[in-house]
């Protein structure tokens, strides 16, 4: 086994570029998944099954099929329909959409966890439906699902390397490019592997601490 520290040094500038793209994709993907997930969760509480049933089926489908194939679908099929995005935008949409079907379940658990008395109190006070949601239910529901949403941010982080397959130069993309140019595979791949652990492990510790404080 040979380990070349010079290769590590030479790779580092590319690593920082890649890290920036990874974090950018992660941030945008998180925002999309949080927003869309809430939309799905609210639609699933619609009074008519003509809304609930299609939303439930569509999200189940997205959740049970591989993100990689969905990514290819968006990347190759949308241009055929004359909708073109940049590779990074496509990747962010794919990740956001895929994970929104997970965050939706988190929101649902959060909404169902709000005590029935809160609903009854809102009804007794004569609050309109919109006020009941925005002022009573959602603030309590979102508060208790923050740690669970955080877990999905970490899961999303670990899925950002997939964007490499559609030519986005995030961390793994940069590592692969460097490896192919210099024919040194060990160092770049190990560096980004370690980087992922260094980001995700403290993040999960942080979430555990947050969970103890926020949930009750």
């Amino acid at each position: 086994m040979t380990w070349d520290w010079n290769a590590v040094g030479a790779f580092m500038p590319h690593f920082w570029d890649g890290l920036l793209v990874t974090l950018e994709a992660l941030a945008l993907g998180s925002v999309i998944s949080f927003a869309l997930g809430l939309v799905w969760a609210l639609l699933m509480r619609a009074p008519t099954r003509w809304v609930r049933w299609p939303v439930g089926a569509a999200t189940e489908f997205v959740r049970d099929t591989p993100l990689l194939v969905q990514l290819f679908f968006l990347f190759y099929v949308l241009p055929e329909w004359n909708i073109t995005f940049s590779a990074l935008t496509t990747g962010v949409i794919a990740i956001g959409l895929h994970y929104s079907t997970y965050t939706m379940q988190v929101y649902r658990a959060g909404i169902e966890g709000v005590p029935a008395g809160q609903w009854e109190a809102a009804t007794a006070l004569g609050l309109p439906a919109r006020r009941t949601w925005t002022a009573v239910i959602l603030p309590q529901a979102v508060r208790r699902v923050v740690p669970a949403l955080g877990n999905y941010v970490i899961a999303m982080l670990k899925d950002t390397p997939l964007l490499m397959t559609v030519t986005v130069l995030e961390m793994l993309g940069e590592a692969r490019l460097y490896s192919q140019q210099h024919f040194q595979f060990t160092e770049p791949l190990t560096v980004i592997g370690v980087a992922f652990i260094l980001i995700s492990y403290p993040a999960s510790l942080l979430l555990r601490a947050l969970e103890r404080r926020l949930v009750r």
């Binding site: 509480r45 049970d64 591989p66 658990a109 995700s200």
Partner: protein, 244 residues
């Protein structure tokens, strides 16, 4: 889609299924090994199992696959057949997630059961085999079922390394036909059907195992099973914010 292209897709399904079965076996083995080790009384054993879990859970499955394909041959001189390389990377990664399930289910068994085992003079191994595992395993099935679907989705990653699985066959068909909407729709549907079959299989298994320890299969508290969507305001005071 010509018959020749459908043949490609069928071959792809076969490779995906093979990879799924092999890596599920490895992941299952690693889950129980690391999960049981994390309940050990020796700190060294707990530490090693925890290290394995955090390392493989901390990094991305795709990076693991790259590592097995590119670094193992260069660094250690181990050149693995693609199927085994994919199995190794996926099995170890998803085994790390599974070990958390095993540990959680073992910890959830009533402590009195373990104490009863000690009082009756069972050895630690007998306690695990005869008392703890038979009660813990049925509780593990719903989360394992979810993990198995995640593993199925994970098998798509090996196509990045050029292994001829279902996703890779889609790439070939796309290149052959110069159009992608049709084939990707089919492939997504095939994955969905596979996931559906897996969930059904696991539900049947759960029912049998639950019957074995004399419990109804419906009363599954605090696991990641799919609950029916409750309509109506204020329904369901059960589920807390403890998703995932």
């Amino acid at each position: 889609m010509t018959p020749g292209l459908w043949k490609l897709v069928l071959d792809g399904i076969w490779v995906t299924v093979q990879l799924l079965v092999l890596s599920a076996l490895l992941a299952g083995f690693m889950s129980f090994l690391a999960g049981i080790a994390r309940t050990s009384r020796r700190w060294v054993v707990r530490f090693l199992a925890g290290l394995y879990t955090e390392v493989f859970r901390g990094t991305s499955a795709l990076i693991m696959i790259f590592w097995v394909y590119f670094v193992l041959p260069l660094a250690f001189g181990w050149q693995l057949v693609p199927l085994w390389a994919g199995t190794l990377a996926l099995g170890l990664t998803y085994g790390a997630y599974g070990s958390e399930i095993v540990r959680g289910a073992l910890n959830a068994v009533d402590p009195a059961q373990r104490e009863g085992g000690i009082a009756l003079g069972f050895t630690p191994w007998q306690r695990m085999r005869l008392i703890l595992l038979p009660q813990a395993v049925p509780e593990m099935i719903p989360p394992f079922s979810n993990l198995l679907v995640e593993l199925l989705k994970g098998t798509a990653l090996v196509s990045v390394m050029g292994m001829g699985d279902l996703t890779f066959s889609a790439t070939l068909v796309r290149l052959a036909l110069q159009q992608s909407a049709e084939i990707y729709t089919y492939v997504l549907l095939i994955y969905f059907v596979l996931a559906f079959l897996l969930t059904r299989l696991m539900r049947g298994l759960e029912k049998r195992l639950k019957a074995g320890v004399g419990r109804a299969s419906d009363s599954v508290p605090a696991t990641g099973t799919k609950r029916a969507a409750t309509a109506g305001a204020g329904a369901g005071a059960t589920a807390g914010g403890s998703a995932s």
